[in-house]
Subunit: 277 residues, 2 copies
């Protein structure tokens, strides 16, 4: 099944726009994980078991595995989701970007080695750095547009001179990713929850394109303002990602129940807003 | 020894500005590698043995290892260089970039797990995505500025409005990386060999900052024009990287000799120009 079909299905099936980001940090694991093998996989598995009926996607962040030489546990985590929850799409958060021949290797890493459904991509090097990813037509290519970190404005908000005046760089990226670059109609955008006004302007430009939205929870984005700005007419079009506020809702023995409660609460907050509008 | 000290030493010791990029592609290996274990490491080892007195640095490209689940062979390659050629700095070409907490994990991957001397970084997410790398004061943080691929202009050449008119985005990145962001004086820039005029303008702006220069050889940059544009007054300041034209100079049994000849030729071409000026 293509990424888009899987996403459509999981939005519906779990009545959820929530994506749980898997950023496993062993220093924050409950004590009983401290001396076991495969702690990263076992932690992820517990989180997945506790939230699998509440999410539209999982998003493992590869840096958390790479720092600990735990590529095997990333593969285990992905295989576990694919085996027990084959309907839930997996987004590899990797923010890759390189010249074409190297980008092809990164696309192979994401889509062949790990066989995930979508990957995040950095647009700074231009179209030929994106093309090897979008060539996998059934997969999702999620381009950084306006991110949620506090320094995002340093580069992304710079004013680009156009014929009609100026526009911020992130808008140019949104236009490219939804237009000329989107040759297989499988591009999405990363838009942080921290700047709802910017998200509204991008929704205006790109129509029904799907947004991956980090920055709620630990990063402090305003959920309601973001939903108002980003939801499509059909009440979908968003993958709202939360990592730390779900994974580490408790660091005690009840971490999985606490993660479930946090995910349920987020999903339902989002859904209350979707029903109200 | 710090990255800068190692680089200074290897420039001098090997009388070379040449960096060999380790982009191991098993499809291009000579036939006798086709059925051996650890072919990637063994190929790299042969290239290193053949070129170790001709280079100022090695630059493994992590995508080529990641695509083949060969992180162990990346570690082996790095350890081999560190053990037998401890004076040669190692640059991990990874082009990482993410929010601060994740960037810290990527910095851990590069500087702790693999213990390399420098890493390439994508600036699109702004200062807090760069800061965790430069916090390793003895290491080098090499920021993408103007790359050598044909789509580089899509984003990097966009005209940023300033008080005095416009300037291309890559110039703004150069100013940030050499100024406000360079809090520990350990930043370098990636500047492709394909646009010597742009390199000259950046050299003007950033003073003695070191440039990592891809794009000669397979990517077709003009070596002499690039050297004229980029060399510092002391005839140094550049790490001129070549991958494919050295690694695959021959795909026969003589690949190592051919790689040495190609590296020697490049080093000497560069040095002839340095002596002439």
């Amino acid at each position: 099944m293509s990424f888009q079909d899987k996403l459509q299905h999981s939005w519906q099936q779990n009545n959820s726009l929530l994506c749980v980001g898997l950023d496993p940090n062993p220093l924050l694991f409950p004590e009983h994980f401290h001396n076991i093998d495969n702690a990263i996989f076992e932690f992820n598995k517990a989180i997945i078991d506790a939230t699998c009926d509440l999410v539209c996607a999982y998003k493992p962040q590869i840096a958390y595995f790479a720092a600990h030489a735990a590529e095997d546990q990333l593969a285990q985590t992905i295989t576990y989701i694919q085996q027990y929850h084959p309907q839930i799409p997996i987004i590899l958060d990797a923010k890759r970007g390189d010249i074409g021949s190297t980008a092809a290797k990164y696309a192979e890493e994401a889509f062949v080695r790990y066989n995930v459904d979508a990957v995040t991509i950095n647009p700074y090097m231009g179209f030929d750095s994106v093309e090897p990813f979008i060539a996998y037509k059934d997969k999702g290519s999620i381009l950084l547009c306006r991110t949620s970190n506090s320094s995002a404005a340093d580069i992304q908000d710079l004013a680009i001179a156009t014929e009609k005046g100026v526009e911020p760089l992130f808008k140019r990226v949104a236009k490219l990713a939804s237009g000329k670059w989107n040759t297989h109609n499988n591009c999405l955008l990363v838009l942080g929850a921290t700047e709802p006004q910017q998200m509204a302007e991008i929704r205006e430009i790109v129509g029904d394109m799907v947004f991956l939205v980090p920055g709620i929870g630990a990063q402090g984005g305003d959920l309601e303002a973001m939903l108002k700005a980003g939801l499509r007419g059909d009440g979908k079009g968003l993958i709202v990602s939360s990592s730390r506020s779900v994974l580490y809702a408790s660091q005690g023995a009840d971490f999985a129940e606490a993660a479930r409660a946090a995910a349920l609460n987020l999903r339902d907050q989002i859904n209350r807003y979707r029903q109200l509008r």
